[in-house]
């Protein structure tokens, strides 16, 4: 029977990740990247690959560490705590999960390159301001033995630097997922100037050629490949978001113990104590939802939707509360760019939208609970 308790291996993985990231990728490293206008740290990603993180969901036959979804969540959570910039979510979690559903020779080749850190992916799914794969309008028109893709994608996370794109497009009888190089003729990528200083792009496809070889999975049935990938991504993003909330919360509690006003630490004021305590309660409840999502993805992935959406919804609302309280309880300093809390606030807003916002996931929960 699956247990909602961290295994020894998971605890060790988390501790190891924390130890590594505190040295290699503290928030100050993110600040440096941002100040330099960079959205990718190639050296860091290579190190993460060497530790088996890029291949966390890649089978051992293809050089992966194959640790499973709960383990991926553990890593994502630690990444979130110090706002680490990496293609972990889009490449190691989502693209790897999609490729694994297919498992042919070409997919295996791609998985091996993901595991070694030599190949990155971005998912080009969204077209409107909200995540809604079912509403995809971009067309892939049949053309001889292949297709021609035309249309626009937006909020393609890691889209400006990724080597390859997973593109969702409408075909004759449904939706199809294409796996194409990001520099193929007809593709124009415009990096977005994101509030969280991460890589996201608007991508235009103009008569882009795709062959049958470029289809990932079956024509007209993208979801059999994409749904597991998105759910894995949503769970890992929930974990990252929870990590982010924990990071902001930790800073806030430290400040409550340190800052003095009226001759006392501000943490002695009950008004603040109770708000901080409430926030801790929210983070505890969210932690359960995230652990549960990892367990279900590992044990019963076909029936994990409820668990995943629950985790994403809870993590989203918890992080938003954590950063709001974080800024408020820091007073003026919380509003300064020199101070890190603002980074957490901006990142929380972006992850809230990515892969479905609170309402999107609460609706899924409601539907599955018979509303």
């Amino acid at each position: 029977m699956t247990k909602l308790v961290m295994t020894e291996e998971e605890t060790m993985l988390g501790d190891m990740a924390r130890g590594f990231l505190d040295g290699a990728a503290p928030v100050s490293a993110f600040r440096k990247l941002r100040d330099a206008g960079e959205t990718h740290d190639a050296k860091l990603w290579k190190e993460m690959a060497d530790m088996g993180w890029a291949g966390v969901l890649v089978p051992e036959d293809q050089g992966g560490s194959d640790m499973g979804f709960a383990a991926a969540n553990v890593i994502a959570q630690e990444l979130g705590k110090t706002l680490v910039v990496s293609p972990f979510l889009s490449t190691a979690v989502m693209a790897a999960t999609a490729l694994r559903q297919v498992g042919d020779a070409r997919a295996k080749g791609a998985l091996a390159k993901i595991a070694s850190g030599d190949l990155t992916y971005a998912l080009a799914i969204d077209e409107g301001i909200k995540h809604d794969p079912d509403a995809t309008a971009m067309e892939a028109k049949a053309d001889g033995n292949g297709f021609r893709l035309s249309g626009k994608k937006t909020f393609v996370v890691d889209g400006a630097m990724a080597d390859r794109l997973l593109v969702l497009a409408k075909t004759a009888e449904g939706l199809t997922l294409f796996d194409i190089p990001a520099d193929r003729a007809g593709i124009t990528r415009d990096a977005s100037n994101m509030i969280d200083a991460r890589d996201a792009a608007r991508i235009t496809f103009e008569d882009v050629e795709a062959t049958g070889e470029d289809v990932l999975g079956q024509v007209d049935s993208a979801m059999s490949v994409l749904k597991p990938a998105l759910e894995a991504g949503q769970a890992a993003l929930a974990a990252e978001t929870a990590g982010l909330a924990a990071g902001a919360f930790g800073m806030t509690v430290d400040y409550l113990k340190e800052r003095k006003q009226f001759g006392a630490t501000i943490g002695s004021f009950q008004a603040l104590q109770h708000r901080a305590a409430h926030l801790w309660c929210e983070t505890e409840v969210t932690a359960s939802a995230i652990l549960n999502a990892g367990r279900l993805l590992d044990s019963d992935p076909d029936n994990a939707t409820l668990a995943v959406s629950l985790a994403k919804a809870r993590a989203t609302s918890t992080a938003q509360l954590a950063v709001m309280e974080g800024v408020q309880m820091h007073g003026g300093i919380g509003m300064t760019d020199d101070f890190d809390m603002g980074f957490y606030m901006k990142r929380a807003r972006v992850v809230a939208e990515w892969l479905g916002d609170y309402g999107y996931h609460a609706e899924k929960v409601a539907a599955l609970r018979g509303f």
Binding site: M1, K3, L4, V5, V253, L256, K257, T265, G267, S268, Q270, Q273, H274, A276, A277, H278, W280, C281, E282, E284, V285, T286, A287, S288, A289, L291, N292, L306, L310, A313, R314, G359, A362, E363, V365, A366, R369, G370, F371
Partner: protein, 391 residues
């Protein structure tokens, strides 16, 4: 249930037993106040089936499935307990017995009681023969519980108890009371309290019911006037009753949090709301959005209770989990009942109206964030013990 039985064997055997032994009348529909048996000498069974169901479960140890067998339980492991609840829920079987003895005194006795006390007091609780009430609060000792003034004078072989308790739930229906009594007036306030067990039929014990806003009278004032309590009726060490009291409170809080009553395992809020408003009735966008939020929170809180249980089974202490669960669970439960009232519209405004006792239930939930320690007290506990902020 043999040792070395696999989970699936246990499930199959339990399922067959439940099919054969759970009366049809005891499946579903546990809405009425007395639908679930509270036990005790004063209990009036609502029907034969309720009595039969209690007796059959008690014989198997299923009224307290995780208690040891020599204490009236079935000695189930955590995994078996999960299966037990799943199988009960599968046929919508009613809980055969609920009581403060099961939720509160039992765990405290299992932890602090002598073997003799366990064997003496626990089986009658498990069989539903003795009903207990909780004598903690006093007029001057609510949130500041350690301020209790009810006093016990040492008279050699007994304590002579005098004083008053208040808000004693079901004191008028209970057979015994576990009470916090000050046995050392000179010690500091936490160190002079003893945890005593008192027979409500003893001379000098009197109860006076208090009517609640929901219309019923579930709690009482309880008076002790020269009540003789034999020395062996103490749990734990003399003057160290506060340790027992606090331990018991963690179990009480977990119970009140709702986790134990199937908050998440129970029916989805949306389904209940839709029932009231009709299939297309749930179109009120505000109500629907609020209900979704409640459902998300309810599921996550339910998982948190499971997580804490799994953690404590794995030997990882869950710290001050009960304060957190109590706070989150009760605040959520109040919101849920606000939504149920809103969905019921004017039908929900009558006592015993078209929606039964919905208004009464709604009003009753307001006590959830007061009884067993208020929400504010729970937050202060988290703040002090978890976050390490100055108390």
């Amino acid at each position: 249930m043999g040792a070395g039985q696999t989970a699936e064997e246990f499930r199959a055997e339990l399922r067959a037993w439940l099919e054969e032994n759970c009366p049809q009348e005891m499946r579903g529909g546990a809405d009425a106040e007395d639908a679930i048996c509270w036990g005790g000498k004063n209990w009036v069974f609502t029907c034969d089936a309720q009595k039969v169901w209690l007796e059959r479960c008690a014989a198997k140890g299923y009224t307290v499935p995780t208690w040891p067998k020599d204490c009236g339980g079935a000695g189930l492991t955590r995994d078996q307990e999960k299966i037990f609840h799943q199988e009960m829920a599968r046929i919508d079987a009613r809980t055969p017995l609920q009581s403060f003895g099961i939720w509160m005194l039992g765990p405290a006795l299992l932890h602090f009681g002598s073997q003799e006390q366990k064997e003496h007091y626990l089986p009658p609780i498990a069989r539903g023969e003795v009903r207990w009430c909780q004598g903690y609060s006093e007029p001057g000792a609510g949130s500041d519980l350690a301020n209790v003034q009810t006093k016990g004078e040492d008279k050699g072989d007994h304590w002579l108890v005098n004083g008053q308790k208040i808000w004693t739930s079901y004191a008028d229906k209970a057979d015994w009371i576990f009470a916090l009594v000050r046995t050392d007036r000179d010690a500091s306030k936490h160190l002079g309290i003893s945890f005593l067990l008192i027979d409500m039929t003893d001379p000098g014990v009197e109860t006076r019911p208090i009517r609640m806003i929901s219309g019923i009278s579930p709690f009482c004032e309880t008076f002790f006037d020269d009540v003789k309590v034999p020395k062996h009726q103490i749990v734990g060490t003399e003057n160290r009753g506060w340790d027992v009291a606090k331990y018991l409170l963690t179990h009480e809080r977990e119970m009140i949090s709702g986790g134990g009553q199937g908050l998440a395992g129970g029916r989805a809020l949306g389904a209940v709301l839709a029932e009231t408003m009709g299939e297309d009735g749930l179109i009120d966008a505000t109500l629907r959005a609020d209900a979704m939020r409640c459902e998300v929170d309810a599921l996550a809180i339910g998982l948190t209770l499971e997580r804490y249980k799994d953690q404590s089974e794995a030997g990882q202490g869950a710290g001050n989990a009960s304060a957190m669960l109590k706070y989150m669970g009760t605040e959520l439960n109040k919101q849920r009942h606000e939504l149920l009232m809103s969905a019921g519209g004017s039908d929900a405004l009558e006592w015993d109206g078209p929606l039964g006792n919905r208004a009464g239930d709604w009003l009753r939930t307001k006590a959830n964030s007061i009884e067993g320690g208020t929400s504010e007290v729970m937050l202060s506990i988290v703040s002090r013990r978890v976050l390490g902020l100055p108390g």
